[in-house]
Amino acid sequence: MKQYTVQGLSASGTGPQTAVNIIGSTAIRALINSLVIGFRTNPAASDQQVRVQVGNTTAVGTAGSSPTPKPNDPQDVAAVSTAGIAHSAEPTYGATFFADIDLNQRSSKEMALVDGREFSGSATASNGVAGKMTLVTAALVMSMLTGWRE
């Protein structure tokens, strides 16, 4: 298995706004093992609560751009999974989430998951794992570094 990384920003808004969606295929599913969630709005003037959800997606929505996953080892081949960031139409999420947490806008959260306990997509076309912010009062931009094995 190889390790890849993508970093992305959500579009600006009051939520729901997805920052990064890692999209698998019938041949492969991404095992998310590293997340760093933060907020890039500058200045971080609003001392507000931000609800962040990470879960499975069953449709990719419409991403503003599709950055190339970066192999952690530069000698590795390109990733099979694709990535979407800065969505203009949200991906379709499942009813339950891997993480449904609350952060302050001025804070950040790192998650490192050990082998066997990753957040996993299903091996189905257009299915993936994504993170979004929701339910904020003042518009902001969410940032998310996402690492996975495949």
Partner: protein, 136 residues
């Protein structure tokens, strides 16, 4: 709905959003890239289909001209020293070049792994794609 109709719908939706909401002109960080169209409606639209990514209409032309621009840059030796997964990239882009040779391809379909090589080439020349559903 055909991919061509879906593409027209995506572009139309983005045009409407840009008209009423400046946030949809693209995330600021992305829009700063040289050569990158700030507006989502001006970016090539790519569809996630079964294990492959498809572009259609004049988005094919946009992608291929960006790939050609990348190949010109990649011919520079100092760039080749920086490029990763070069064999994979060269193979993918050669396939794109073959498609360019066929008369006005209406659709370009690439496996997801190859698509990542294409997006790498596109990002080097400052072109971002809009990735969207192809199957719904």
């Amino acid at each position: 709905m055909s991919l061509t109709e879906k593409r027209a719908a995506v572009i139309e939706r983005h045009r409407n959003q840009e008209q009423f909401d400046p946030h949809w002109k693209g995330v600021a960080e992305e829009a700063k890239k040289p050569g990158s169209p700030a507006k989502l409606s001006e970016r090539p639209v790519a569809f996630v289909c079964d294990d492959e990514i498809a572009v259609t209409g004049d988005c094919v032309g946009k992608v291929l001209s960006a790939v050609n621009k990348f190949l010109e840059i990649a011919a520079d030796k100092s760039f080749q020293e920086r490029a990763k997964s070069e064999r994979d990239l060269a193979y993918t882009l050669a396939k794109c070049k073959q498609l360019t040779a066929s008369p006005a391809p209406a659709e370009l379909r690439l496996s997801q792994q190859r698509w990542n090589a294409v997006t790498y080439a596109l990002s080097v020349v400052g072109v971002d794609c809009v990735l969207t559903d192809g199957n719904d």
